[in-house]
Every structure is written in structure tokens, then in C-alpha cells.
């Protein structure tokens, strides 16, 4: 008998002939998430099984599995022989001590000498006679004991189904570039797109020395918190200090943020195209701040041709915060470091800037030269 983790996958079964592609992506992502843990990953029909790991670390491994997109549910259980005694020994480890229970048997190996019902009855009976505080309830039991009799004299025994993250395996829906600040929203946006199978690479803009290493380090931490979901191990940073200084010096103060964002989009697109990524992802939510009005979003979109995905567009701040807490990025997001914009933040930013006004102001700048200069400051940080 050995401890195993049984993994069931989500949605993949809907994908017909592409099934192999999705299964392969899921297996690759599971392997990546378990890097550093001794284990073996095997595919059963419709499931994966993790075996041969250090049993004292089962919880850590299960936690990692729970964060891999495409996993619908998982169970920590036992792989054992299919003799009744062997199965019962495993059942004793997963069964409750008190309360009501039901044994549910699935018999994939149809040549097994007993039927599912007979196995459930035999195991349940033994358990009842040994644990006096237990009672059977086949309709609304408090606890289940699951037995899955397999071929080659094996059985899986487990006590519960734990929810996985669901979604699609990362890497099955193309690649995009997430513009990640140190705030609450962008990590949530990255999480949501990764959940739909997008490979999300990370790009962060900083304006050293107006922002500090603490702010950058905070983004590195956020990126690390995201990586169990996104599988991404690198963060790209670009310095936009000179761009901010030039905008500040030459353009209308109320357009500071609008103009900076247009530069960020241009730079992001150049990097995305260079790396073969097919979309940009941002954490923008309609009307949340001055630059996220319809006019603000339009002015950013106007400088790029790649699609810009904004999964949070219709979310309230509270909803975003709730998600950030759930995925574990909230605490880091609210650390008190300034991100890109605050030193040059105008008192009254324009909320509805007209495109021709923006372009007129922007015309005072050497756009291409500034973009090129910023691209020269690219740094790639391994997470």
C-alpha cells in the first residue's frame, strides 16, 4: 500500500480530437509544479496518478496540484492490492471514527469476483463491526469511503474529493504579455487569463530612481506568487524614467498618465511581438481610475494592433480584492511601495481626453527614440 494523489481533469474531455494535446499540456504543467519533489506521474484513463513521493510531504504536493489549471478535483488516497483485506487496510486509514458514512465502490475491472455492491457491503460491514461509533447512511452520509477496483490487481482507496482550480491547462490557449504593476488588479488579471489556458509572460515598468528597489522586489514577489498558477519563471522589467521626465517637462500635466500608458502599451507590444506573444493583458477595470475611462482605454488601444485582454473590465474593486485574497496575492499587493506613476502624478488627471488633444501633446515628444531607449533597458529577472 502506498500513498498516492489522484487527479481528475476539467473540461478537457470536451475537446474531442485535441484531447491528447490538452492532456499532454496538463501533464507538463503538473510536472513543472512538482519540480523539486521526488514523484512519478502516471496517466490512468481520465485521470493522473502521482506516486512514489515522500509521504510526509503529501500535503505540500497536493497543495501544488490544487493550483494547476485544468485540475478539476484531486484526492489524497492509497494505491493498494485488490484483495479484500488489502483494500480494508487502506480503508481504515481514510475512514472516519464517528458519524455516518457510505462506501462507494467503482469496479473498472469487470472480471473481479465481487460486484461493486458486494464490495461496499463487505467493507462497510467490517468497518461497522470495528468502529462502534460509526453508522451507515446511504442517502446523506457525513463521510464517504471511495474504492476504485482497477485492473492488474490494484485498487485506489480515498475519502474525499478536493476541488482543483478548474480551467484549462496553461499553454493550450496561446501566449500573452501581462503588464504587471505592484497593485492588486494585474496579478488577478494574470490569474484569470492563465485559467483559460493562456501562457502569461510578465512585464513590469519602473521609474528608478523615482521608484525604489522595494517596489520592484514587490513585483518579483507577486510574480512568484503567481507562478504556481502560470508556470512562468521570469519577469521582464523596463525602465520608463526618461519617458516620464520628458512627458512631465513637455506635455500638459493632466495627460501625464494617459501619455505614459500609451508608451507602456507601445513598449509592451514591441516586446510581445518580438517574443511571438499574441495579446496584451492588463488589470484595467472600467472607470476605476482616471486612466481607465472609456476614453483612457481607447487612447491606449489606439497605439497597438495586438488585442488587449482586460479580464477585470466589468469587476468592482471589492470583487477583485476578493479574488486577490483567494489566490494569495492581496497581502503582497498592499505593501507600501510606490509603483510607477506616483511621483509625477498630476493633481487633476484628465478623465476624458480627446484623441486629437492627446496626439497633439504627444507630438512634442520623440516617440520612437524614447521607446527604443526604454527597450534598451530591458532586464529579465528569474523568479
Amino acid at each position: 500500500m502506498e500513498k498516492v494523489i489522484i487527479i481528475r481533469y476539467a473540461e478537457i474531455h470536451l475537446k474531442g480530437k485535441n484531447r491528447g494535446f490538452f492532456e499532454h499540456a496538463l501533464a507538463t504543467n503538473l510536472e513543472k509544479s512538482l519540480k523539486g519533489y521526488r514523484h512519478e506521474l502516471h496517466r490512468l484513463s481520465g485521470r493522473y496518478l502521482i506516486e512514489k513521493f515522500d509521504e510526509t510531504r503529501a500535503e505540500e504536493i497536493a497543495f501544488r496540484v490544487s493550483r494547476v489549471f485544468g485540475v478539476r478535483s484531486y484526492s489524497v488516497g492509497y494505491l493498494t492490492g485488490s484483495e479484500l483485506d488489502e483494500m480494508y487496510a487502506a480503508v481504515r486509514l481514510v475512514a472516519p471514527e464517528t458519524g455516518s458514512f457510505k462506501v462507494e465502490t467503482h469496479r473498472g475491472y469487470k472480471q473481479y469476483p465481487m460486484t461493486s455492491m458486494e464490495i461496499s457491503a463487505a467493507i462497510g460491514g467490517r468497518l461497522l463491526s470495528e468502529r462502534k461509533a460509526l453508522r451507515v447512511d446511504v442517502h446523506t452520509p457525513e463521510n464517504y469511503v471511495y474504492i476504485d477496483v482497477r485492473e492488474r490487481g490494484n485498487a485506489l482507496v480515498f475519502g474525499s474529493f478536493e476541488d482543483g482550480e478548474g480551467g484549462m491547462p496553461v499553454g493550450t490557449s496561446g501566449k500573452g504579455l501581462l503588464m504587471i504593476s505592484g497593485g492588486i488588479d494585474s496579478p488577478v488579471a494574470g490569474h484569470m487569463m492563465a485559467k483559460r489556458g493562456l501562457t502569461v509572460e510578465l512585464l513590469h515598468f519602473h521609474s528608478y530612481p523615482y521608484t525604489n528597489e522595494g517596489a520592484k522586489e514587490k513585483v518579483v514577489q507577486l510574480a512568484r506568487l503567481l507562478s504556481p498558477y502560470t508556470q512562468v519563471t521570469e519577469l521582464t522589467t523596463v525602465k520608463v524614467t526618461h519617458i516620464q521626465e520628458e512627458i512631465h517637462r513637455k506635455c500638459a500635466a493632466e495627460l501625464n498618465v494617459t501619455l505614459l500608458r500609451r508608451f507602456m502599451f507601445r513598449i509592451a507590444e514591441r516586446i510581445a511581438l518580438r517574443r511571438g506573444l499574441s495579446c496584451l493583458v492588463t488589470g484595467e477595470s472600467l472607470a476605476q481610475v482616471a486612466s481607465q475611462t472609456m476614453e483612457g482605454l481607447t487612447s491606449s488601444n489606439a497605439v497597438v494592433t495586438l488585442p488587449v485582454l482586460r479580464p477585470l473590465i466589468g469587476f468592482d474593486k471589492e470583487e477583485i480584492i476578493e479574488r486577490a485574497k483567494k489566490i494569495g496575492t492581496f497581502e503582497t499587493s498592499i505593501l507600501p511601495y510606490e509603483d510607477c506613476c506616483t511621483v509625477f502624478l498630476p493633481e487633476h488627471p484628465a478623465t476624458r481626453p480627446k484623441l486629437d488633444y492627446i496626439e497633439r501633446e504627444e507630438g512634442k515628444l520623440e516617440i520612437e527614440a524614447l521607446v527604443d531607449e526604454a527597450l534598451g533597458s530591458v532586464e529579465r529577472i528569474t523568479l
Partner: protein, 370 residues
Amino acid sequence: MIYLDNAATTKPDAAALSRAAQLYGETYFNPSARYGGGFAAHKLMEDARQSLLCTIADPALFDLIFTSCGTEADNTAVSMAKRGNAVTTAGEHAAVYESFLQLRARGVEPRFCPLSEDGSVSPEALLALVDEKTTLVSVVHANNETGAVNDIAALARAVKKKNPRCIFHSDGVQAFCKLPFRLPAEVDLYSVSAHKVGGLKGTGALFRRKTCSLQPILFGGGQENGLRSGTENVLGILDFAFAAENFSRLAEETERIACLREKMWAILSEDFVRISPMDGSPYILTVACRAARGEVLQRMLFDRGVAVGTGSACSSKKPVSRVLEAIGRYDRTTLEGVLRVSFSAETSEEETVQAAELMREAAREYRKKV
């Protein structure tokens, strides 16, 4: 790198460290062990204690309790306010200030004495807050953000005259081995820290007048006469004693350092506002560049090879310093642009001039860009 952030921490004294490391390597035993090695470690530690004591105190009157840092020493001292009220100043380091805020929950009323324009505290203002219910008074010796120096001996004497039963504590972290000073009998407790005088981070100490009762805040194996449990940091303690010994010898440098401070100010005066008083610690010159952000200037300077502080490193996550605000002389625009230059005995005149010129240049560049 021109290092002018010595009030945040000093470069470790290499000679002291190698001497301490060698002794520690040979005598690594637990000082509480009841065999020869343990006694030897204990003996080394006691020699270090004696040497540190003698630096500023009469060992017949005072003893010394090792702690893990200045903050722990301050917390231990402030925790002796058990009832009534406790008086401190608005110019304290966070270790004392925040400890005082905690007193409220324990039923002790904290009182904060306002600062004079130079950042120090006047005896009248302090005494006005002390009454017969006062159980503890704590006044910083040299302020870490401005360098303002309080006359601890005179303040302690005045306080004791008004209320002889209260405990008088002073945070001496920025003054120890830097200002000429002997602990007078009116001071009961005095906190110091190793890494401000060339020692290692992780070691502090609390001087205690022997007749002053003290209670621990950490409980365990009963080390330090039961006043501070926890296995002693022998390496840190030995290094502290050696470093302080070397550092004290440099006390003669005080005048030279005061000259450096004024030389620097002469270069900065056109572009900066001076916050440090003329008669403050010669080791600290705090200035402000109006309408600039101190933190940004600090990074610009670091990239040009000069390390200076802003406000206090411990509180630099907050935009404006609580202590400088308490002085009441400066508006926010000034306080956002604060830089603290802190010298050491190793600082040369050439470095000082070069750093001052770079500071001036950075301030001008900032103003041009932002």
C-alpha cells in the same frame, strides 16, 4: 563608495571582528555550560561586559545587561512603567515611542513632551509633565534624525528632584562612544547598540544603576541574572566590546568631525535647508531639499557613489518623519526632501567635500527634471 549613513549602521570594525571571531572560534561553548569550556566562554563575556561598562559608567554603581539590539533594551526599560503615567518626548526613536504607545493598553498614561525648535527638549517642558504619579521618564540622548542632543545629566537631576521615585531612562544609541559622557547616578537605565559603533547587528545592551529594579520581558533559562533569558550572543558581545574600545579612542575626533559637518554645510547651504542644530551631535547633519523627495535624491546619490540616509531608516517607509514634524518648524514640502548625512571617524575631508558637491548637483538636477 563614500559611506555617510553611519547613524543607520556603521561598517564593521575589521580588527575587532577578527579578534572576536578568533576567540569565539576557540571558545564556542555555551556560557551556561558547567564545564571548563563553558566557564571560559562566560569569562570572556564578563570581561567584555566590564570593558563596556567602564566606557561610560562606574562599575561600582552600574551593571550592564546584554540584549539583542537597542530596540530590545528600550522596550525592556519602558516596560518598567507599571502604573500612573510615563513621560517621554516627541523626539524619540520608534523603539521608545511605539513602546510608549503600548503602555496605554496596560493602564499607564503615556505623555509626550513637545520639542524645542532645535529638536531638543527643554527641562521646563519636560518637568511640566512629571508629577508624583510618574513612574518612568525616557529622554533620547542624541536624536537619530536631527542629531539634537539633550543634556541627560541635567534633565535626570531635575526629574529626580521633582519625583525621586520615578525611573529615568535614556536611549543612548546615537550618543554612546560618540559624545563625551559619563553616566550620572540620576540616570537609572541607558540603552546602547553595537552596530552604531563598528560592532555587529544583533547585539545591544542596557546599562542599569544597580539599585534600580528591573524586570525581564523575555523568560527562559535565566541568563543575565534572570533579566534577559536566551543563550548569550557571545560573538556579538565580544565584538561589541572590542569595537567600542576602538571607537572610544576616536572620541578625540569629535572636533574634526564637527569641522567636516560645517564644511559640508557651507557647500549645501544654497540649495538645502538645515535641520540639524549647530550644537547637536557632530556626527549628524540633517538637511532638506525643498520640493524634492528625499528618497529619490538618496537613490540618485547612491548611484553616484554616495550613501546617505533619509529621516530614519527604521521609519523611512512613512513619507514624512514624525520627529521632524514634531519640531513644528517645517512644512511638508520641506520634510519630504530630507537627507541625513552621518559621519564616522573614518570620513575624510576630501570625501566630505566630494559628497557635498554631489548632493548639490543631485538637488539641482532633480529640480530641473521634476
